[in-house]
């Protein structure tokens, strides 16, 4: 399938349709994502590599196309994630705030309903997320952590594939207009 710029970029206000979700979806989906991350790796360790809170943040930011809404969702999900981690509060919070803002800004310009775009965005946002977290860990906490590029790229691809599937499922929770 040929995918031209006309399909990727949005040019009119009509095309930038904002998706709306019910309040319980906005509350329960991130909570479920966090719960998934803290519970299921107990039984399947490889699931710890899935950043479901990030995927959910990216999804809501992309679909709502509101930078302020995106950054607030990111901040709340990130702080909740911080609360359940051993990091000081704010590490995931700042990271996901930035991701939420950038994702919403991207959502204003791209057709984020297409699977290929979602795959690429899922990959890029995961790598971006890991990079920001690494910078914050070194810069703010003074931790001597190496940025494992190869590992991050592989995990980015894995998370992107999961993101496409999850986005498809979450599309069904959108309010019909």
């Amino acid at each position: 399938m040929r995918y031209s710029d006309d399909h990727i970029l949005l040019h009119s206000q009509r095309e930038t349709q904002i998706s709306r979700f019910k309040a319980w979806v906005l509350f329960l989906v991130p909570l479920a994502a966090i719960l998934f991350q803290v519970y299921f790796p107990l039984f399947f360790q490889f699931l710890a590599y899935l950043e479901l809170p990030l995927i959910v943040t990216v999804y809501f930011a992309l679909m709502r196309r509101s930078p302020i809404g995106g950054l607030l969702v990111g901040a709340l999900v990130g702080l909740a994630q911080d609360s359940l981690s051993k990091n000081p509060l704010g590490m995931f919070g700042i990271t996901k705030t930035i991701i939420g803002y950038v994702a919403a800004s991207v959502g204003l310009r791209l057709d984020v309903d297409h699977a290929l775009i979602r795959l690429i965005l899922g990959f890029i946002f995961f790598v971006f997320h890991q990079f920001i977290f690494w910078v914050l860990s070194r810069g703010l906490l003074g931790q001597q952590i190496n940025f494992e590029t190869q590992r991050t790229l592989v995990l980015g691809l894995l998370n992107a594939i999961v993101a496409v599937s999850l986005f498809h499922f979450l599309d069904k929770l959108k309010e019909r207009t």
């Binding site: 909570l31 966090i34 719960l35 991350q37 803290v38 519970y39 790796p41 107990l42 710890a48 590599y49 950043e51 809170p53 930078p67 302020i68 950054l71 607030l72 901040a75 702080l79 909740a80 994630q81 911080d82 609360s83 359940l84 981690s85 051993k86 990091n87 000081p88 509060l89 704010g90 590490m91 995931f92 919070g93 700042i94 705030t97 930035i98 803002y101 800004s105 703010l140 906490l141 995990l155």
Partner: protein, 415 residues
Amino acid sequence: METLLNRYRNVTVLLLVIFAQLVLLAYQVKNDSDVRMIRVWAVTAVTPLARAIEGVRGGTEGFLQNYVVLRDTRAENQRLHSELGKLKLENQFLRTELATADRAKALTAFESRSPSKMIAARVIATAAGASASAVFVDRGSTSGVEKGMAVVTPDGIVGKVLAAYPTASQVLLATDPSFAAGVVSQKNHVRGILKGLGHGNCRVDYVQNEEKVESGEWFYTSGDDRIFPKGMPAGLVTVARSGNPFQEIMVEPSGLASGLEEVLIVLQGVHQQIPELKTAAQPVYLAPPLPSTPGDAQAVSTAGTNSGAAVTTDADKIREHYKEVAGEQGHKFGENPPGSKPADFNLEKKPGEKPAAGAKPRTDGETERAGEGGTTPARPPTPAGKSPAVSPAPRPPVSPSQPKAASPDKANPPQ
């Protein structure tokens, strides 16, 4: 101004939110304290859900094992040889139950055997983040758990309590890079600091290259960190090699080796001794001493069967001789009161007395030489510096200056 704010509203909000979180972060780092309220909210919101899911999972698993599988198998048993199938099914079921019961029993046994006061806890969740080496357990401050308490299993140390919330606690695992514990090796009692590496293994730091640590050796907690009681297994050395400036010692943490489901939180630790290394007691063969003459060889050969009775060395022979001489005079070694007259070792044995084994009667010449000192008694053992100023005591028949007497066997070789 208002237009400007509207224009950059998104960026302004972004910067404000990031700034607020930076302040929050800076507050925690600077004061080395936590904003506990937010964490309590999150933990209180998530752990009941995790517990509920765990309950549903356990219940479903139990239902499937105890009802569905059992019923299906029973139906199959009715079609096949019912007795045999039923027994097999029961066996399988009991094994599963036994495996579960064994873990609980091992924990209970360890808890009752250990002098430390402990509380059992179940792991209900892991910490958020892919690289996080921390878990949540279902015991919190209401159960007496406090921050900094040690977490162990019968196999070894697991980690320490990072934070205690009312219904749950966060446990930092021993594999986390920020974990550290004082340890000591079992064999040579080499002390070091156990640190996590972020993956399966740990390393022991600050061990000098001169210290001896071997692969396969156990490390135990030393109690120096005041978290873990002394004497708990920490792990097994997998690699030990020289490094710069300290040895590179890799340890496989024994408490995490078989997965984590149930753990024990040490409420009040009691130090224990580090168990001694059991070495296999192998019998060591000692050859009999080399005989100097054929006669001695015979005596030595009988020594193994009649040990204690045989006189094998020159010193033994002299001692036997003195005992006999003293025995004739009624002297008993070690029983005479202080100041009593000592035995005269220059006197000859009465004729007809049975000589001691290996002791030869003296010749006349030897007797004369021995009696050169007259009847001066031999000196009794006196405290140092209090020797009476008397003429030198006559030497016993055996002395280096009297080779003939010193070596009765040589003086009187066997015919």
